[in-house]
Subunit: 278 residues, 4 copies
């Protein structure tokens, strides 16, 4: 028995579910779970089915491809560990949270490497027998630095996702376009509040009673990519901005790990700078 | 163009989605939303589809009935306001919240009447031009009292749901069986913690840091029916039990109104003392 | 036995607590609760004590005044119902929530009147025997309209707080200065995200996974006054902006009522566009 | 300049604050923060002051001791790292979270050792250069096993807290009495719901919509000690009990680390099986 995740992303039209479920039925597949979303405003249809049965992936894909209009995006995903690269700068909480999950076998992924513009986190990463690539930005233009990172990334065969676990440098459009909807960032505020630098200080100065964190795909506008997950905690007047930062870290790491899990399980569709999450 | 909610509740077997979606397709129906759930543990399948098109309800039902095994429960719901009865005792917060929503047209229901074992809430209810039935329990056995209530309820043509908006008396099995999965209660704790009387006092004495409320269908075991919705708030050592009660009221009323909305929109399936909520 | 709330707002200096507690001790007062906050960044000290004993308020004030530097702000508040004016436009949820609490005796205040620029909410308000003042803005400049409102407000003896229960017009600086830190507004977003018009639509278009509401004092910058309370709820891709609005209303009304309660109990200090809340 | 935490735990009586603040004033101490709580029901008074100035701890203690009734509990705590022992069984998430914080210097403590009844977590712990003591329970009575653990614990000079980071064995009264209010446990439910074994399975079977975790001091009744911190997350019908367990782990580790931080900062008072937390 094989198990697949079938992903459908299409303009909405009559008969899609019928045509897809007919193929599942004809192949005697079990539907283990099924999620659909119709976005009436944009006339879009999204579907994620987990099916099992005695069929191979390419045959299933071909049948779906024949049965459905050419405009329908189809993906038949075979379950296997995805390859991810982690990028970080100096803070260890988000990175450490991922490493502990990885060590426990909780993360359905291969961590190919950790890339950082500082060597501060090397001792932590080396404990977990994961390659650490220190690629300094010192004395380099942003473009030169990114070229070095890209060269490093290209040395790996197939990178499914790049996770920015508190990587504190802005990526250029060139870099981002290479990995469209493949770069997951954690921003330390509940976006769109407090875009940019030191959001905890901004939050403190504004006197908010709630702070948060946002995991999102990176696009070319700083902190404005499609949001995957958000979470918040309450604060009060006794919290200076460093207290907010300390408490906020717990939110950051949990939200980032939640977003990674969603990505690894192929649960995220991106459309119009928004996500549909099954 | 008619719009229907199609509800399917069945043991899980291959081809259900195919057969149902075929009928939708053959009738040229639009699928406005579709939710499915497969419960592998109990081998159950649940589905709620909102469809629109040029077909009448009984024809659609008949086609589904013919196409699907006899063991499949099928319901084709035509959108109309449901009839509800509210029951309350002395506290006005949950009842008042419902009345304000009703007045604003937010509630897709007809409130046929408010029934209470006290007359305390009559002035409030009468502001909203809703019949108030004061049915005292004084001097009556529980059975006699309930017989009086049942007589009152039977005087209404079709009661879809009975909402216990802080009705503080226990209902007998006889009463509950008459309205199986049709009675929605709000319990002032996050069940199963603090079953029974004065949960806020129990919570205070236990020194919890979180209190909550639970909306559930009523069955024959006190506070043990299928849970529809739960919500919590944080408390601390400065809260006496009356403070907890005061703050808890806000949770109670919101959770109860959320559960009512889910019921009015036919979003709740009950199975094995649990709910599937779409 | 009298009971007072003693409020101290001062630059921080040694001996304040000692001098204040000495007076409490000399008068044989019971301290029922005591909250202090030192803001090291701004060198500020805030204190709220609830005391009871056999002393009158003016004597207690005089003793504190004599013992403490002239720069210290002192207030000895005798417990009595505060006078509030509610302002609203068309939506009833926040106003209705306050009215139900008022009717239940939960609100320690006199509602002098409801003022609105529409007559839509008059039927609701009249149910509760509260004067409703319909003051249209039609055909008037903003200044003329506000002059009419101010005239109405001035007809009441002593207004402690003005509560904007979804009053959807911007107030001019002239108006705001008349009631400095006395106007409580509910904004339908977790500020500072989505300042301005239709925040739910903004939130929907941004694709956020959390929406919220903020109660704050009004100052001369739109939606930028000191924040009193905030709360959020989760949303997902199935929520259109009207769903967000509907769900958000529950947050709005709870947060506003929470802020009103804090104000009525003299629990809010304002400093540097922020609040200290005891 | 020295800094101290002054902790007062007493029956409530007039003049305590005055007498204490007089000593602070006479010694020209700065009050950096001050928290008080009066528990009227039990006539108790709790106070935690952080003060700084030019006085030594024993002199400050002596002055307080002289000024206050003998029934008043006084503690003058000098800031230093506390010594903690971690105990675990097989799961790494809570332990790993503590280790990552420790490595980052976030934890104001010395971790003396990790003690476990299995050797499964040894590879993880050894990465962080912390002694790991594998003390098997195999073939031993509960008393014999605990005697071995106690012998190990006694080998360390001064243990301030024992943290049960998912240590899955019940401790005997003998053990607990040795470390009264010094053992912090994380229970994987929002107590008092789902006491005992496999609370996630219990939660799944009850069909709750919220699950949680509780950090508490251990006393002689299983899962019934004073609660320090609680947190919850929402679940729905798509979550099997293993999903609940997986998601719950994030709550467990955050709540446990929050409780540890409160203990390390001397912010917890215990009274009558409840906590006062400043």
């Amino acid at each position: 028995m094989n198990q697949y995740i079938v992903l459908i992303d299409s303009s909405d039209e009559k008969g899609l579910v019928y045509k897809i479920s007919k193929i599942f039925y004809d192949n005697e597949l079990n539907i283990l779970s099924n999620n659909e979303h119709v976005d009436k405003e944009h006339n879009k249809f999204f579907m994620r089915s987990v099916v099992s049965g005695d069929v191979n992936a390419s045959k299933l894909y071909d049948q779906l491809r024949s049965a459905l209009p050419l405009t329908v995006n189809i993906d038949v995903v075979e379950p296997k560990k995805k390859n991810i690269i982690l990028m970080a700068t100096k803070e260890s909480h988000a990175l450490g949270d991922i490493l502990i999950r990885y060590e426990a076998g909780e993360l359905d992924a291969n961590i190919l490497a950790v890339v950082s513009n500082y060597d501060i986190l090397e001792p932590l990463v080396s404990k977990f027998d994961i390659p650490f690539h220190f690629i300094t930005h010192e004395g380099l233009s942003r473009e030169e630095h990114e070229a070095n990172i890209l060269e490093c990334l290209k040395s790996f065969q197939a990178v499914d996702y790049i996770v920015l676990a508190k990587y504190m440098r802005i990526l250029t459009p060139t870099f981002v376009e290479e990995y469209n909807n493949k770069i997951i960032n954690i921003h330390h505020s509940f976006l769109p509040a407090f875009i940019g630098a030191n959001p905890y200080k901004q939050a403190y100065e504004r006197g908010v009673k709630i702070i948060g964190a946002t995991a999102h795909f990176v696009n070319n506008n700083l902190d404005e990519g499609p949001i995957i997950a958000q979470e918040v905690i309450h604060v009060d007047h006794t919290h200076g901005w460093k207290d907010m930062q300390r408490n906020g870290r717990d939110v950051e790491k949990i939200v980032l790990s939640r977003a990674i899990k969603l990505a690894l399980e192929d649960r995220i569709f991106v459309h119009e700078n928004k996500t549909v999450i099954f």
